[in-house]
Assembly symmetry: C2
Homo-oligomer: 202 residues x 2
Amino acid sequence: MKILIVGGKGTIGSKVSAHFSKKHEVIIAGRNSGDVNLDMADTESINNMFKKIGKIDAVVCTAGEAKWAEFDSLTEDDFYIGIKSKLMGQVNLVRIGKNYMNPGGSFTLSTGILADHPVLMTTSGAMVGGAIHSFVKAVCLELKDNIRINVVSSGLVEDAVEHYESYFPGHNPIPMHKVVNGFVKSVEGASTGEIIRMYDNC
Amino acid sequence: MKILIVGGKGTIGSKVSAHFSKKHEVIIAGRNSGDVNLDMADTESINNMFKKIGKIDAVVCTAGEAKWAEFDSLTEDDFYIGIKSKLMGQVNLVRIGKNYMNPGGSFTLSTGILADHPVLMTTSGAMVGGAIHSFVKAVCLELKDNIRINVVSSGLVEDAVEHYESYFPGHNPIPMHKVVNGFVKSVEGASTGEIIRMYDNC
């Protein structure tokens, strides 16, 4: 398979890329790294990327941002950071990418445990995650040519514990190989419209 | 209680307004009707409305739109209709309205069954609904002065069956008095962060 991994140099993306590279042709897209440049908040950048790489068998997205801050301090523009990047960036990867997807191919988006179990300062991130979950359930009804779509929603991953532990009191870290398995289930499995929740004790 | 009902002249809002008017002071906001004018996709309009009405005990929102169309035909701008109106319109009602809310007051937002059980042509509407569900779960952790927030997610309501039945094959219509009860539960009850699902057999 020819697999595009958006954010393939990130905390989760690098482990996902390393795994798929063993058996598949992997193309990594990143803002400042990887094989092709991509700013996922910029639709023209998504268009240009797909024109460059052509037909593919799978798109995996482990990228996208949203602003973490207290609700009282979040401006409307702050909410649009997540809307343009993690939300519409992923919607646009599907909207545009479906025209480059081979029959039977798959999209695998990513969110996080916040969508189901938010913590303080995550109104924007939770909102964007919940949006993607419902989007995946809706769009799987309409994709053609047996193209599938799923989303991996992971708890606090082991490799991010050092930076994020204080935000997630009592959350059990998720081992990286389990998170990677979420993406493997989506790409190499047969399901569609699935929210693959990689949580531990929630 | 002094209750602001956004969309209080709509299909659901008119029944909700009629009910609360029996026991409470109700102010209806609408684009072209009601006691105060409001375009909920316009943040300045929300600011002006709250300046006009002053302190309140409850905000109920039964308004907001999103584009219904096949995923293949939805442009990026089409998705932003729902993002600006049903999604950020409701977020902004909370973001701005919390400064006018009396202690112990409540917000009650609205979505629909699409967020959990989408049907064809609802990628945008489902996405926006899922976003609001997760937003409510996140923001309830941060609201101060015992201010509560819930969301009523209703199935196809009886009064909309004639227009929408064909979109919802096999969905059991929800009687209007049950939908109204969802809003009563939120406004007069004690819960917060609740997604009040008014579904029948889903």
